[in-house]
Point group: C2
Chain length 87, copies 2
Amino acid sequence: MSADWKTLNTKVIDAGGNNFIEVTLKQAPEEQDMFIGFSKGWTNSEGLKRYKSNVLFKIAQKKELFDAVEEMLSLAEEKSSQKSSDE
Amino acid sequence: MSADWKTLNTKVIDAGGNNFIEVTLKQAPEEQDMFIGFSKGWTNSEGLKRYKSNVLFKIAQKKELFDAVEEMLSLAEEKSSQKSSDE
């Protein structure tokens, strides 16, 4: 990502071991579109953050993102309640 | 991702050009934890999906994911309302 991109906010979520997931708000150069980014990475033995991959969503597509996440969460809930009623 | 992982659901979001973002619900082998995955990729000239990167969140961490996304969205809204009042 070029230096012209601005990172407006970052939240780090512990993903176990040395791994983390970062959720960021980024702005494209020249005050263009904003994006929500998901990045995964790990902290190396010197305490430096290393990144493996990232996925960016346009803020303008937040509805599609939310709808998709909601759908996955309700299916996940359904599956785990089936599982616990089987036990 | 090994063949033992199950993809329980997939939603494809158009990301402009030949690009797409996929939101998936995945289950780890042997009915272990479920995850929400975000993948980005593109469709090549033969119509095949090619993947560039992906980030996985444990369903158990959904609160952290949601909180982070909500925080980014409200900051994005703040920034764009500042921008329009400057104009």
